[in-house]
Symmetry: C3
Subunit: 307 residues, 3 copies
C-alpha cells in the first residue's frame, strides 16, 4: 500500500524515483491506468493550487474523480473522517487525497484504511507534494540538491512547507538557512540554521519564501504590512543582492507586498509559477505510485468482508 | 417515464426486477447508454454515501454529470425547485437526482417535468434507494425476504428509512418489529409491531438501526449519549444476544456509541459497509431504468415547444 | 487570443459568425477539440442557467472541466482574481469562464493572462453570452433582427442584460424601447427610447423582461410585489395586448408574479426555456472560438518562462 503522509517516511531512493517520474511527465510521458479507477479529493481547508493540480493530474492519468464537498458531506452530521474515508472505500473509490486542518489527521487512518491516502496538507504538519514540487523545481534549475544553500524565510513555526522541506533538503545535502521573526522560530525543526534575512538572501541559491498564514494566527507582531515587508520581506532592494543564478520560490498564495515585493513575483528569478506547473507532474507521479502499489495488493476486492 | 419517488408506488415485480438488476451489477455486469446522456445531482441536504454513490453509479454507466451546487445556484436568488429542474431539462439534462428537506417535494414536479426524477430522500418522507440497498443486502444474506424478522430500532417517527422500508418489507412477507422511545413512535406507520429493544434484538434476523438525526430535532429526551445507548442502543451486551445468523444494518452515518456500540460497526455481523457497496449497484439499476424509460418516450426533444 | 468580455468589442461580422455557429450546433453539428483541453468555470456569484449550460457546452465539446469552488479556493486567504487565473494558467488550464460581482473585473486580466477568458457576467456590466442567446432566439423566430421592435422592460440601470443587448440590437437594426420605473432608468445607455409599459408591450415584436435583482439593491420603491406587478409587470391583461406574432423573453431566474404573470412563463408566446436551450449552443460557439484562437497563438507552452 503506497500511502503518502510525509516525505520523512520515504527513503531517499523513493523520493528520487518520484522526482524522476515527475520529470518524465514534465517531458511529456503518458501513463494511464489499465482499468477504470476512481479517486476523491477531500479538502477541508481552502485551496486553489493543490486542489486544482490534483484534479488536473487525475484527469491526465485518466482517473474518474468523485466530487466531495466537505460542507455538504455527512461530516456536517457529525461523521468522523475515518468513517467518511471508509465509506468512500466501501463504495469503490480507489484512492483519496486529503487536506485537513488537524496535524497528523492520517494517524487514525494509517493502519485501517485499505486504499491509498495521499496527504495534501495536514494542519501545521506536512505537505509532501509541495516539497516534491519544490525539490523538482530546484533540481531542474541546478541539476542537483547537493551543495546548494536554500534559505527558508518567514513563518517557520506554523509552516508545513518549512517542516516538510527542511528535513528532506538536509537529507539530500543542501544547506538550509532559516530566517524568521523571533516569534515564528521553530525549536522543533533542527534542520536549519537561523540567520538574519539579509544574510539569507545574500547566501542562498534558492530563496524560499513562506506565506504569512493570516487564517492560522492573529498575531502579526504589531507590524503593518509595510513594516513587516521592510523588516522580513524580500524587498526590491534585497532582491538585487541575490546571487547571480539564484531563484525565488514561494508555495503561494502570495501576499504581494508583504513577504515579497509584488514586482518580484513574476520577475526573471521567480520560479513561482513554474512550481505550480511542476505540482501537476509530481502529483501525477504520486498518484501513479499509489495506484500501482494499491492495486497490487488486491485490497479493493471483498473489502466489505469484515471478519 | 420512470421517475422513482417512493417504493410504495412500485409493484412488487418492479422492485424485484430492480433488485435482480442490481445483483447483476454486483456480479460485474456492464451496461452503458448508447448515446451521451447528462445527469445532475441536486442535493439540498448534506450527504456523503448517497451523493457519492450516485456519482459513482453515474460514471459506471458512462453518464456525464453536470455539477450542481445548491448554495451557488439561482435558488439563492429565490428560484423555485420547479423552475430549477425545468431549467436543467431545458439545457439538455436527461435525468435529475434530488434530495430535499421538504417532504414530498416531488409532488410539484411529478406531472410537469419531462425528464426522470429520482428521489434521493425527501425530508422525513421516503428514501427509496436506501430501501432497495437494504433489501438487496438482506436478500444476499438470506436468499429471500419472506419469513424473516426485521427489527427497525430508533427514531421511527422522523426516519424516511423506516417509512420506506417497513411497507415494502411487510409486502415481501417479512415480519417487522419496531423498537423506539415512546416519543419517537410513529402512529402513521402501520407495518410493524412495537416491542422493547431486548425482544427486538433477540428475535430479529436483521437488526436495522436508525440514526438519531440531531439535525432534525433538538430533543434527546433529556438523556446523555451514554444513557440513550444503554436504554435504546445496540450495546455489546445486546449484540451477544442476537440470533446465530442475524446481521446488523444501519443507513449511516453512524453515531458510534449512541445507537450502536462502536465495536459492532465493523464486527462480523455488521453489513453496514456492504450496504454502502450495494448502494452503488441499486443506484445503477435505478438510473438504468430511468434512462430506458425516459428515452423511450422521446420527451427530450422539442421540450421547449410550450403550447 | 479570443477572449470574450463584451459584445461591444466584437464586430458585427464576428457576432454573426458566432450566431451562425450556434445555429449549426442547434441543428446537431458536432465539433471536438483534437487534443485534451482543460477549462475551469470561476463563478463568484450564484448561477444555475449560465453555470450549468457552460458545463454542458464544455462536455459536448469534449473538454475536461477542472472544478473550482470560490468558497473553498485560496481567494479565501486573500489571493486576487489575477493570481488565481494565473495559477490556473500555470497548471495547464486552457481557458476560463468567469462570473464576478465587480464591474469590468476583466480589465486586470485582459493584457496579461495568456489563456482565453470568457465573461459570464461582470457585476452590473456585461453578459455577452446572454446577449448572444437572446439574439439567436430572436433570429430563429423572425429570421433577422433588422426592423424589429424590442422592448426591454424593468430594471434597466442595474441590468447587465440590458446593457449588453441594447447596443448590439441597435447595431443590427432593431428599434429598442425601454420601459422602467423612473429610479431604474439608465442615462448611460443611449440605445433605447423610454416609453410606458403599455406602449412597449403593444409595439414590441419581442418583449424582453428583466429580473428584479433583489440581491443587488434593497429598494423596491416602496411597492409590494403585487403593486410592482400591476404597474410595471407583464400582467395577463398586458399579455393579451401583445402583437400577433410577438414573443416573450426573460433571462431568468424569473420572479413569477412580479415582472411577469406566472401563467405567461410557459405560455405559447414564451421563449424563456428555448432561450436556455440556446444558451448551450451559443456557449459551445464561444468556447470553440476561444479554443481555436487560443491554440493558434501557442501561448500555452513555456508559459512559466517569465523574462
Amino acid at each position: 500500500m503506497h500511502h503518502l503522509f510525509t516525505l520523512t517516511e520515504l527513503s531517499s531512493a523513493e523520493i528520487t524515483e518520484l522526482l524522476d517520474e515527475a520529470e518524465r511527465f514534465a517531458k511529456g510521458d503518458h501513463w494511464q491506468a489499465t482499468e477504470p479507477l476512481f479517486v476523491a479529493n477531500l479538502f477541508f481547508e481552502p485551496s486553489t493550487r493543490t486542489k486544482c493540480s490534483f484534479e488536473m493530474a487525475e484527469r491526465k492519468l485518466g482517473l474518474h474523480v468523485i466530487p466531495f464537498d466537505a460542507d455538504m458531506s455527512s461530516m456536517q452530521k457529525g461523521e468522523t473522517l475515518y468513517d467518511t474515508v471508509r465509506t468512500l472505500e466501501a463504495i469503490g473509490v480507489n484512492a483519496v487525497v486529503v487536506r485537513h486542518s488537524q496535524d497528523a489527521y492520517f494517524e487514525t487512518l494509517r493502519h485501517v484504511i485499505r486504499i491509498p491516502i495521499i496527504n495534501a496538507g495536514d494542519g501545521c504538519g506536512h505537505h509532501p507534494t509541495q516539497s516534491l514540487l519544490d525539490l523538482l523545481t530546484i533540481r531542474q534549475e541546478f541539476g542537483t540538491l547537493e551543495g546548494l544553500t536554500v534559505a527558508i524565510i518567514g513563518d517557520i513555526r506554523h509552516s508545513r512547507v518549512a517542516r516538510s522541506n527542511a528535513e528532506v533538503l538536509a537529507r539530500f545535502g543542501a544547506r538550509v538557512l532559516f530566517s524568521s521573526p523571533e516569534e515564528w522560530k521553530d525549536a522543533a525543526n533542527p534542520y536549519g540554521t537561523y540567520v538574519d534575512i539579509d544574510t539569507a538572501v545574500a547566501e542562498a541559491d534558492v530563496v524560499m519564501l513562506l506565506r504569512i498564514q493570516h487564517e492560522r494566527h492573529e498575531e502579526k507582531m504589531g507590524l503593518t504590512k509595510e513594516q513587516y515587508h521592510a523588516r522580513y520581506g524580500l524587498t526590491l532592494e534585497r532582491g538585487e543582492k541575490m546571487k547571480k543564478n539564484s531563484i525565488i520560490l514561494h508555495p503561494a498564495p502570495v501576499n504581494r507586498g508583504v513577504e515579497i515585493a509584488s514586482e518580484l513575483v513574476e520577475s526573471k528569478r521567480s520560479r513561482i509559477f513554474k512550481q505550480m506547473e511542476n505540482g501537476v507532474y509530481v502529483r501525477m507521479a504520486v498518484l501513479k505510485r499509489a495506484i500501482e502499489g494499491g492495486i497490487a495488493n488486491g485490497s479493493y476486492f471483498k473489502k466489505w468482508k469484515i471478519v
